[in-house]
Symmetry: C2
Subunit: 817 residues, 2 copies
């Protein structure tokens, strides 16, 4: 294989510089292979023996030499131009490469003094790799300079763009393996250039690294002709340069030229845009690099080709402990890197090589862009009380809860304009989610052509609307990890599109809490406003509250789940979440017009407690309820409060307590979650032994789990979303899933033995209303008027002034249908 390069004039690297770069690379390759294989004799001061080899050989060598070469090349660029560079290693499983380089530039030992820059440090570096108590084989949070794990493939480009937004001085070098290039999220990530503003954002330089194979099979993009590859990149809006080869000298020179040319073009684009203003989406450069898989590794093992094939994907030489031949080959392989010439007797990188690394924060392992907390500017937030909804009495007025939040967010944009450190990320639902007021302060972001009919679209917009949850999530992650703030409003059902991304971010946060050198970053905030209980026209084809379950599996120090029951509570919760650090906050609050309960002061108090009794909806003044109606979620709250209203109206002798839960984590034991109520506080709310009918937004089993171990846990009867029923039920009153007020009331009555006879009678009437409602709604295509117009009244009259029992209204209404 020879080296070819398109579109870039060869750069004449001075022979001495080329030689040193290659030696630097060899040293990095050596340290990478050492991590995979060695537990002792780290610098081969003696012949390699069985006991120097790790008992389990783990790691991925195939991609390592390419990653190391790119690192060395970027080092040169950084030194030459004093350019801040963030290295995103898409093939993050090539972790040894990044660890080796961060070690060679000195960052690793500064962060982990135990891993010193000497013989013993190298031994420790090797031993810790993918072993008990050590570090994972991926570019995990423990690796300085990384914001990208690379454990689950697909998110290199979206992380890169997220980090580049609003960081005009940053260059993100984003390496994409040809395996990762096949994933949907990566293929969807190229479009970041449609949202990147050359004036105010940094640049992303994609480097598509083709080495041909995944684990065992060929890669799609390594097997398409060059002209298709070039078309594909041009179709994505990039101008590609191709570098290909297996001779290090040739490849190094060609890649240096391509990098130099790309950088010049990036600077030209930026200079032009920053001098003359934005004038259209630029065509950014990108590089395609073809090198053999397992480059520099064993050519053949036992007569079978390894270098350049899938066989070098992980550990090219296996059985090294017990196979003397293989061990000899490993020793040869290691010695082929000439480490004697690269490290001195103490195990220090020789000065002429050490000098190739940048210094201070320009080292890619030390860049503050990869330790976002160092760059974090606290948001200037307005007082949320200024955005209060007027709620003269509970359940007396209706509103769309997120409207006021939209005004608050508008002012967040205004107040933090100079910092440019806050964005919304949303799959085209900002208006639909009732947050449209933000467009008084900013616009949708697009650097594409803008048409006269477009609604608030601008090249410097801060609302990132793209119909890709993967882009939204990945961009936001990159934006947060590099030190900014954001909010992700989306549909509840579609949040599950990024379940696995959430997993990885949560695990990242979990680990960083134990890494003192990683400064806290802003929380990842979700707002689910189109939720499973208001499916509208969508039918029940994909709806569900499963995202809550995914977040809850990450419980502990990292996640919080909030169910503000109304607009003022939403304000309090959102404000709290925007101020928080290092969490994943999930806020679920519907956008539909519905009853409001608390004024802003009540909301503040209620939310700060996390859960509480709602006195207005309770009549157990003596503290001895017959039954507790509990609720978490806006729709469950309406139905539970209405159930309380029905019960108080129809059985004045029944003592009902209504408990509303905003912060779901309060239900945990304090030893499971820091927000958890202790048993005393828990029982003050729910009593020790009274039946609790719990109307819950999510799957009811979540409640069973949360109250597991509490006093008389069997008395908790959860009602929630269950996967039954028809595919379409666009009611306002949710009959589906046994969540309607009548069904909750019936359930409550079943658990009050002292009123058995009257209870049965009333329950029968409620059943009749339900049957009427079914018929009425199928005939009139809307809810019964007594449901449609219901509001809280303490004289317990139906909205149209009719006294009990309720069913009279509905039957009459239905008769004329």
């Amino acid at each position: 294989m020879s080296a070819t390069i398109s579109h870039a004039a060869p750069l004449s690297l001075a022979p001495d510089e080329l030689d040193k770069m290659i030696r630097y690379w060899e040293a990095a390759n050596y340290l990478s292979v050492g991590q995979i294989y060695l537990m002792d004799n780290a610098l081969l001061r003696e012949p390699l023996r069985r006991e120097h080899i790790k008992p389990r050989l783990l790691g991925h060598f195939g991609t390592v030499p390419g990653l190391n070469m790119i690192y060395a090349q970027l080092n040169r660029l950084i030194k030459k131009h004093q350019q801040s560079v963030l290295y995103i290693a898409g093939p993050g499983h090539g972790g040894p490469a990044l660890v080796a380089n961060v070690f060679m530039e000195g960052t690793y030992s500064e962060v982990y003094p135990r891993i010193s820059t000497d013989n013993d440090g190298i031994k420790q570096l090797f031993r810790q790799f993918s072993t008990p108590g050590g570090i994972p084989s991926h570019v995990s949070p423990e690796c300085p300079g990384s914001i990208h794990e690379g454990g689950e493939l697909g998110y290199a480009l979206v992380h890169a763009f997220g980090a580049a937004f609003d960081h005009p001085d940053l260059l993100v070098a984003c390496v994409i393996g040809d395996g990762e290039a096949e994933t949907g999220p990566l293929e969807g990530g190229w479009k970041g250039n449609k949202f990147l503003n050359p004036v105010t954002d940094g640049a992303v330089l994609p480097i598509l690294h083709l080495n041909g194979y995944k684990i065992s099979g060929p890669c799609v993009y390594a097997r398409i002709p060059d002209d298709e590859l070039v078309n594909l990149m041009r179709g994505h809006g990039y101008e590609p340069m191709l570098v290909e080869g297996d001779d290090p000298e040739v490849v190094f020179a060609a890649f240096a030229a391509a990098l130099e040319k790309s950088y010049a073009e990036i600077r030209r684009i930026q200079h032009e845009a920053r001098t003359n203003g934005f004038s259209g989406r630029p065509t950014w450069p990108m590089i395609v690099l073809r090198t053999p898989k397992g480059w520099t590794g064993p050519k053949e093992v036992d007569g079978i080709q390894v270098e350049g094939t899938y066989r070098s994907h992980q550990v090219p030489l296996a059985g090294v402990r017990d196979n003397d031949d293989h061990r000899r080959m490993l020793e040869e392989w290691l010695r082929s890197y000439g480490s004697d010439r690269h490290f001195d007797d103490q195990g220090r990188l020789v000065p002429e090589l050490a000098a190739l690394a940048p210094e201070g924060d320009l080292r890619m392992g030390a860049t503050p862009y990869a330790n976002g907390g160092r760059l974090l500017t606290t948001l200037d937030l307005p007082s949320y009380s200024d955005y209060a909804l007027d709620v003269p009495a509970p359940g007396s007025v209706t509103a769309e809860a997120p409207r006021k939040l939209g005004e608050y967010l508008r002012d967040v944009f205004k107040r933090n304009q100079k910092h440019r450190n806050f964005r919304l990320f949303c799959p085209d639902e900002t208006n639909s989610n009732r947050l449209g007021s933000v467009f008084e302060a900013t616009n949708r972001c697009s650097v594409a052509d803008i048409h006269p009919d477009d609604d608030h679209v601008a090249s410097d917009g801060r609302v990132m609307e793209v119909l890709s949850e993967h882009c939204c999530q990945g961009w936001l992650e990159g934006y947060l990890l590099s030190g900014r703030h954001g909010l992700f409003p989306t549909y509840e059902a579609f949040a599950m599109v990024i379940d696995s991304m959430l997993n990885q971010h949560a695990k990242w946060l979990k680990v960083t809490r134990h890494l003192h050198w990683r400064r806290p970053i802003a929380s990842l905030n979700y707002l689910l406003t189109s939720h499973a209980w208001r499916n509208d026209h969508n039918g029940y084809s994909h709806q569900g509250p499963g995202f809550i379950d995914v977040v809850l599996t990450k419980k502990g120090t990292v996640t919080r789940v909030y169910f503000p029951p109304d607009g003022n509570c939403l304000m309090s919760v959102a404000d709290h979440c925007l101020r928080s650090r290092n969490y994943i906050n999930l806020i679920v609050c519907g956008k539909q017009r519905q009853l409001q309960w608390l004024d802003i002061d009540q909301a503040r108090e209620h939310c700060s407690k996390g859960a509480g009794v709602w006195d207005f909806a309770s009549n157990d003044q003596d503290g001895q309820p017959d039954v507790v109606l509990a609720c978490a979620g806006d729709v469950p709250t309406i139905e539970a409060v209405a159930a309380s209203w029905l019960l108080q109206r129809d059985i004045p002798d029944l003592k009902v307590r209504l408990v509303n839960v905003v912060d779901l984590m309060t239900l945990y034991h304090p030893d499971q979650h820091p927000h958890g109520f202790d048993d005393l506080a828990f029982n003050e709310l729910f009593t020790k032994d009274k039946p609790v009918i719990f109307a819950f937004h999510g799957y009811p089993r979540v409640v069973h789990d949360l109250v597991h171990g509490r006093s008389n846990e069997g008395r908790f009867h959860a009602r929630g979303y269950i996967e039954e029923g028809t595919t379409t039920t666009p009611f306002d009153m949710v009959v589906l899933n046994n969540m309607s007020r009548y069904q909750l009331a019936i359930k409550a009555l079943q658990h009050v033995p002292r009123l058995r006879s009257v209870a049965a009678d009333i329950a029968g009437k409620y059943e009749e209303v339900l049957a009427d409602h079914e018929r009425y709604s199928r005939s009139r295509l809307e809810d019964l008027p007594e449901v449609n117009h219901w509001q809280w009244t303490s004289d317990f009259r139906d909205p149209e002034g009719l006294p009990s029992p309720a069913s009279a209204v509905s039957r009459q209404a239905f008769t004329d249908a």
Copy 2:
């Protein structure tokens, strides 16, 4: 706007034919708008009044006219060439269009006689749309001719390719909206052409429908220049034809020409390949169609442009009930379609239009390709006993459980070769998952260039390896929904990449069980062989058993979860799943070499029961155990059996029962799942009141939920995967998450009051072993020998012949470290 067409010579449609096609289209548009707005006066026999309008206006008009035009064009193609066509409506939320067309061609009334082809039927058709008890607004299972819901966007192309594989006579017309085109999964779906064989597969004709807007924002691919769009499609390996315009006559003619030319090219490719054999990946045609959003709808409303803008995305005219002006405009709009000329007095489509629809199974609503059960050929499966692992005694030999399954699957391929109705779908892990024997019968599929070093890659391979879970899942769904069989082996962590796709497929299956006309299809079978407990080098960066939780939320009639504890049980379970219909089966069974427990007959019996006592590991012959050790999952089984071994060895007086659960659904109440054990059977296993230490593969809260409501549920102490601990622990013995045998045994001892003093002593010794293990493994980078080499022995001796207590061994081993 004018119409342009590239690469296609204009086709001269006869004026009469063009006129009729346009009228057919107008009728479809009329029926679509009617569904959105009308509950009465369906054919406007009288002036439109308030009470004719639905109280809630739901649905998406913007995409409808485009979908209707394409349907009419495909009808023409079908009739002309007698070609079977499957219509995938990516913008499935344009459901009214598909429903209208399926109704017009007569299929709808055949399937739903209540919706007759007359005035009353049209009224019912309108009333049912997106209303209580009716149909969703998406192309749901209720819609004949659909295998693709389109509720969650992204999967149109993967479904299309899945349906085309192994259906050589099928043409899949796949409409992709420009919103959907932005999603990652859709962008990753273009690569289906790298796996489609023109000899043995059908064809996919992508139709990228650009109408410019999502909900409120512009679409990315509607705003890139034509040359980029063409490059992009060519880069993906397609040759695009562009059709653009807003004049129906011009657009109809141009699209007909493009379609005709595309079809000719498809047939040419197929003929060439089928005559002369496969000779390389063809360049398939595709069509880009640009028409205005909300085409034919109101141009302006209240002085603001609507047609051609985002404002026509859903309901272009709002407030129609109460706004007389708007209602008048709606009437004008409806009448503009000239329905009087298209429907007769009885409400029947006039004969010259009805004649435009194909007949019988060639109607797209009636095609058996969209009702896969009609095409399903039962798999010819070998007897799985022939693939038994020899297990002379429980816990005496080790094996990699999936190896034998690979041999079985190899023979499944062989036996069903002539039907070509079975494929594996896998993100490049077939070998890694120990299923490599399948390559004795088939190959990896790729129609790209094949290199000499490639391992079992061929253009007619039946193992679909692509590094995209979205492709694997989507292809498999399309393959199953169109009547074939498959298996999806993947990593446990990465299965969560397709959580939301699973949701939608599960809901689809749930609904189809109530649609007698939809014949049962083969189950969607997952095999998770690289699971959360054997993270190896990956670290705990993304691992987790959350996919189980997602599957469990779909409980009821659709899902099953199996934990075969060893290879023979895996055979029994896999065989069962491959024979099943209409389920989602999740099988979790690790690929690592580990102890085997049951011979094939025992495995068959155990799996058919779903859960049972393992006598060999129990010593409660009197049926009065002190403690029950339960387990579900291969790793939990090893640890629980070893815990039983430790306890029996160290406290012979203690009575232990070991219960293994294969079918997790047995733990449910029978009223929650058909596999659920009744209380009698449940208590026979777990007793009524003894403590149960439950070692579970997944999150422990799942166990709490499953046993909720069982006798003394508080006695169940679940141990499972929890999100704690370090990021790397590549042990064989899983100390993490309190799952090790020693930790299970300690937990058991805490719950046996009658042996308190000796229990405390032994527990102390176990704590010492754990501490030793920690030190030993960090020093030696492997497990303690007594763990490494442990196997079941009924004389309760350590493997190296040393008697109890265990800790003596480990301390000695560690001393010389």
